[in-house]
């Protein structure tokens, strides 16, 4: 079987953080041009600079403002033409005891991690905005969607919502040749994980999480490799799935 290549493809990658930047670089090294979305200009610029070719673009977009997304997607479609896929790596890894988790906070996490994902899929899956032969979509979920983690109700619920949504989106969008999958990373070495570690490194909860992930901490490239597979024709019969890349955590 031929390896994965994306020459001539154009992918939207949201989130130029640890996992997003690595994903953009990998998809780009396999031939794709990349359209980056993030709220953080520095992350956007650094990632953009690391990409090869002249057709890569970056757009500032605040995913907590779900109503503003349609405008950005329209702009992307006008300036770049139809896209071949979308990877959602934007996310906030909020750790917060229930006592402090008021509705405002819950809503913000859901907006960034979940509603913005569905909104982009909605806006991109309109005729003319995606390749008429179809496209592939991957949402970065989290293994936490399957686990009970104290202080992570908002986060895990947002990822559980994503996992449920991709099954429905996969079925609804299959007639348009659009596949929709998710990747569920375990603890991965990125700024997000380092912040969580800074707050809770001495907690028994954190030690337990690391102990359960018996193959060790994932690197961003481990997640990006799985995303590349799901974005390629090698996975052409996979849709509505959530693939765990978790160093064994779910099985322990």
């Amino acid at each position: 079987m031929k390896g994965i290549e994306f020459i001539g493809k154009r992918f939207v990658v949201s989130g130029a953080g640890g996992i997003g930047a690595e994903t953009a670089k990998l998809l780009n090294s396999l031939g794709a041009s990349i359209i980056l979305l993030d709220i953080n200009e520095e992350n956007l610029n650094n990632t953009l600079l690391s990409l090869e070719g002249t057709n890569n673009r970056a757009y500032i977009c605040d995913f907590s403002n779900v109503d503003g997304i349609e405008q950005v997607v329209k702009l992307i479609a006008t300036e770049n033409g139809a896209v071949d896929g979308f990877v959602h790596c934007v996310g906030v890894g909020s750790v917060r005891p229930l006592k402090m988790s008021k509705y405002d906070f819950m809503l913000k996490v859901m907006n960034i991690n979940f509603f913005s994902f569905v909104e982009i899929v909605r806006c991109l899956s309109i005729k003319g905005r995606y390749n008429s032969n179809g496209m592939n979509i991957v949402g970065v979920s989290a293994l936490g969607a399957y686990l009970g983690n104290s202080t992570k109700t908002a986060y895990c619920a947002s990822k559980g919502a994503m996992n449920a949504a991709i099954r429905c989106l996969a079925k609804e969008l299959a007639p348009k040749n659009i596949r929709v999958n998710a990747v569920a990373p375990g603890v991965t070495d990125t700024p997000m994980a380092r912040v969580a570690e800074d707050y809770g490194a001495d907690s028994d909860e954190h030690k337990m999480i690391l102990a359960r992930q018996y193959m060790g901490v994932c690197q961003p490239l481990d997640i990006a490799n799985t995303i590349a597979f799901l974005m390629s024709d090698m996975s052409r019969m996979i849709t509505g799935s959530c693939v765990a890349v978790d160093g064994g955590k779910l099985s322990s």
């Binding site: 917060r96 005891p97 104290s150 800074d198 907690s203």
Partner: protein, 73 residues
Amino acid sequence: MTQEEKIVLLEDMLELDGGSLTPEMELASIDEYDSMAKLSLIVLMDEECGKKLTGEQIREFKTVADVLNFMGE
């Protein structure tokens, strides 16, 4: 915020009766000040005082007064 108001915020956060906390108290002697409470403290500092609190700073707190001072005016 007055010293009294700050103490009430901390007592509420720790689910302690009013009047339980005094500035001299060692944090290590307060059972309710556990890892969950430290996470709540990060949120409280952010939302009530507009201060970013890091794990390192939390580890440096020894007494209730240290926390009150960090909360600012």
